[in-house]
Amino acid sequence: MSDKKLECPECAGSVELKADTMEGEIVQCGDCGVELEVTKGDSAFALQPAPEEEEDWGE
């Protein structure tokens, strides 16, 4: 897939996805800096705000 341009759900700025972007990857919006999660719509990628991080960890 060639580089893709998507709209940032927070600030409507344009977010460019590199060709090798994967589902579940976190990208940052160049305009507002928010962290976005790449999800898989029916066919194309989509963007949603990335979840907050909670600090604890398994073994």
Binding site: G24, I26, A50, D56, G58
Partner: protein
Amino acid sequence: MLVVKIGGGTGIDYDLIADDVSRLVRAGNKIVVVHGGSALTNEVSEKLGHPPEFLTSVSGYTSRRTDKRTLEIFEMVYCGQVNKGVVERFQQRGVNAVGLSGIDGRLWEGPRKSVIKVIRNGRKMVVRDDFTGKVEKVNTGLLVSLLEQGYLPVLTPPAISYEGEAINVDGDRAAAMTAAALSAETLVILSNVPGLLEKFPDESSLIRKIPADEIEQFMDVAKDRMKKKVMGAMEALADGVGKVIFADGRVENPLTRALEGEGTVIGG
């Protein structure tokens, strides 16, 4: 009351530990044992064609990628081979051990982290089907009833989420929560290092004494897995445990020597 965590790393000598703990139990000490099994889990995962994957959180912690299949292998090793191996050793030494996981009787309960953010092959990723979490509640009623009937509880991850799912939890911090919940005087963490080392892996750089209120400063001295042990110690001390001792699980009479101050004694 004394809680002893036995590390899962290579080099740990279960027979020496069982000898020592059995002596202390027969001498009337109330003891709860907690153990791990990480080294063995890696081996078995490889052989069963589901090689282990370790994730690094955005803030630098590593933990085992725990999807459903990993959890089954985790249970086979921790709850099967290691737990029953430890229980059998105590039975052979005349101590009536009872092996339980955190799922049994909802012994260790807590939230499952349904979403985690990790660095995976250099990419920042969101992982959703991971079964990890932490222990928030300890079923002390079950433990106290077993102790009063003269049994030696031998506990192992996994724990159980509030939704009733098995979750991978850090054994050291589960031991810390157990020690706090039981108001234990002492939590001893035995592993394959002499204690907290100033300059890992130089074993002569052993830090012998740390006042309880200074432990936080040692977070960055602690490398990787030891970081979680230090976090466990902090939580235990904060929740009322008298002192926490990191000591060497590869030597003879490891617990007796730890209680005599051999290792890193924090608080107390």
